[in-house]
């Protein structure tokens, strides 16, 4: 067997092995090198997997050569190869960025542990995305969550500790709800393999345990993906975590949770008539709209930019869920594309905010006054990210919102088109808050002169900002993959 056929396992195993290595080697620069190699290798493998899947269809890998319904199967299709590229791509950019960024924010003796937790978190997120086994999802979810709690607790401010504690409580409750749901599904179908479960559930569809499983999984995963009103842990966690951690988690953690929801809804429950038995579509539509409006409105009144964009994340999750609620190919395409585009946009914004925190000593609106003069490029980058959040043509955010509008029109829901545009205006208001402080106000006398941004931070950040514009202009990769993935998810029914 050649190495290429083991790529699905290597995708997870390489970062997993890197984690203990960083602990054993201890030296900060060696640990950094190991983590960097692991994350770049993960990106290379993700790209190779995407190419393989695009060429020859779904890959199935039997761990330990135990065949699929009995053994653990890693299953790579169009959807999760796309997610793998997002997660490993963001990690490959945030890791070099983090070296200079944590210098100022984390005590030096903890740096090697930072890299350990970072690659462990990466392992967990990649594992969730690649595995085709329901219980495996839970295990990887906990691997990524536990390391994420530690990463958040590394923040300078003591409030980071309490934010991590709250996230731990909410996250554990969410994960436990997910296990309860998986347990009920296992009791009813006798299998843990997701594809197999999707086939067998047809015989027990509509029974009460299956409906209960649907409810438990929905609530559990919604806690993880911060669906309004289960988003309470998110703003504090993103605000007080070290900048590199905020960038990584904001771009990947909630997105992978969305993937889990997509997988369960359409690959497992999709075949059965469960959607018809509960008002799932209406419920998701309502929560999505509530999130889009409430979270955007709260964002307008924030004084710290990290917190402002955290609330914006909750609102953007609303758009993703809105696309899912349409239950159509175009709606799902919009969801999956927005998942990717928003990941890129938020990753870029939080990386830029990390540069601001380093240069100006903080990210409150008072500190960024006159940022346009002091850090012109960084400031311009945040504006591009903001335009993408609003959905201005030429940015990634426009593409996904455009598809969302098309999906709403396809359903004949004119009022939804109006709501999407209206909530984008709210986004324009909170982005304006930054523009006003950065460009229309003079730099404060009492803020220090700006330290130059290290190139290790500025280059990865610049790549991601360029990616925002690139994915706004060339949609062949994003839309191409997402529409294939959406068609495959709904394929069982149409």
């Amino acid at each position: 067997m050649n190495l290429l056929s083991h790529l699905p396992a290597l995708q997870v195993v390489i970062p997993l092995i890197a984690a203990p290595l960083t602990v054993l080697l201890r030296r900060r620069s060696v640990a950094f090198a190991v983590a960097l190699i692991a994350s770049w290798a993960a990106l290379a493998i993700a790209v190779l997997l995407w190419l393989q899947v695009a060429e020859s269809g779904t890959l199935s890998y039997a761990i330990g050569s135990w065949p699929a319904p009995w053994g653990i199967e890693y299953r790579v299709d169009r959807l999760n190869s796309f997610i793998l590229i997002l997660v490993s791509g963001i990690a490959a950019l945030v890791l070099p960025y983090s070296r200079a960024s944590i210098e100022a924010e984390v005590p030096p003796q903890q740096h090697y542990l930072f890299y350990t937790m970072f690659v462990l978190c990466l392992t967990g997120l990649l594992g969730i995305a690649i595995t085709g086994d329901a219980f495996n999802i839970f295990v990887f979810l906990e691997v990524s969550s536990l390391s994420a709690y530690v990463l958040i607790a590394l923040g300078r401010d003591r409030r980071a500790l309490f934010a991590a504690y709250q996230y731990l409580l909410m996250g554990s409750i969410g994960a436990t709800f997910l296990v309860i749901g998986i347990g009920l599904l296992y009791l009813m179908t006798g299998t843990l393999n997701l594809a197999d479960m999707g086939l067998r559930i047809a015989t027990v569809q509509g029974t009460r345990p299956v409906l209960a499983a649907l409810a438990f999984i929905t609530v559990g995963v919604s806690l993880k993906l911060a669906l309004f009103p289960l988003h309470q842990w998110l703003p504090n966690a993103y605000t007080f975590a070290p900048s590199a951690v905020s960038a990584f988690l904001a771009a990947t953690a909630t997105k992978v949770a969305v993937y889990v929801l997509l997988r369960f809804y359409f690959s497992v429950f999709g075949e059965s008539a469960v959607f018809a038995k509960l008002p799932m579509e209406q419920m998701m539509l309502l929560l999505a709209l509530a999130g889009m409006f409430a979270a955007s409105t709260i964002a307008i009144f924030q004084t710290d930019l990290k917190r402002l964009f955290a609330y914006s994340s909750v609102a953007q999750i609303g758009y993703i869920i809105l696309g899912m609620s349409f239950d159509s190919v175009s709606g799902l395409t919009a969801s999956i594309v927005h998942l990717f585009n928003h990941g890129v946009t938020k990753g870029a914004i939080y990386m830029l905010l990390g540069c601001v925190a380093l240069g100006m000593g903080g990210t409150t609106l008072a500190r960024v006054q006159g940022l346009g003069k002091r850090m012109p490029l960084t400031s311009f980058g945040i504006v591009i990210g903001g335009l993408s959040l609003i959905g201005v043509p030429g940015t990634a955010g426009f593409v996904s919102k455009w598809y969302l509008l098309l999906a709403a029109l396809e359903k004949g829901q004119w009022w939804l088109v109006f709501m999407i545009v209206l909530s984008s205006l709210l986004a324009a208001v909170y982005v304006w808050r930054f523009v006003e402080a950065a460009y229309l106000q003079e730099p404060r006398k009492d803020t220090a002169e700006v330290a130059a941004t290290p190139w290790l931070m500025s280059i990865p950040t610049a790549i991601l900002v360029i990616a925002i514009v690139y994915f706004g202009l060339d949609t062949s990769f994003t839309i191409g993959t997402a529409s294939d993935a959406a068609a495959a998810l709904l394929g069982g029914r149409r």
């Binding site: 906990e142 536990l146 530690v150 607790a153 991590a164 731990l168 409580l169 409750i173 436990t176 008072a366």
Partner: protein, 131 residues
């Protein structure tokens, strides 16, 4: 439904009642207590209920481990037991990390009561600049 069958289903569902009781009790403690350690105790009880949910249906009375032999015809399902072994490890790790965070919170805030900590955090943000 006759009295006999009702009591049969009640007895048959005994483990489910215990499971649901533990689940709700644990979740209630997490929500209602303000002491951070008691919250973690609640979380532990909540997670324990899931162990029961998995393991109880997998055990058959008189069933043995699935070893092929002419002497036995009834087997218990080993898979849920193994899954729960994993879940227990995850639960222990979560509890350990939670307690470690509480220790750090106690050092930073001199308190492990949620309402006191929220009060301490509610003071206006200073960030070193005049408004």
């Amino acid at each position: 439904m006759t009295g006999a069958t009702t009591s049969m289903t009640l007895a048959g569902h005994f483990t489910y009642f215990i499971t649901v009781f533990l689940m709700v009790a644990g979740l209630f403690i997490v929500i209602s207590r303000s002491n951070l350690i008691k919250k973690l105790v609640g979380l532990g009880i909540f997670q324990t209920s899931v162990y029961l949910l998995y393991v109880a249906p997998a055990k058959l009375i008189g069933g043995t481990a699935p070893i092929l032999s002419d002497a036995f015809t009834v087997y218990s399902n080993p898979l849920p037991h193994v899954l729960i072994l994993t879940a227990i490890v995850v639960g222990v790790a979560t509890l350990a990390l939670g307690l470690a965070l509480v220790v750090r919170i106690r050092e930073a805030y001199e308190s492990i009561e949620e309402d006191e900590i929220l009060q301490l955090d509610a003071k206006p943000e200073r960030d070193g600049l005049e408004p």
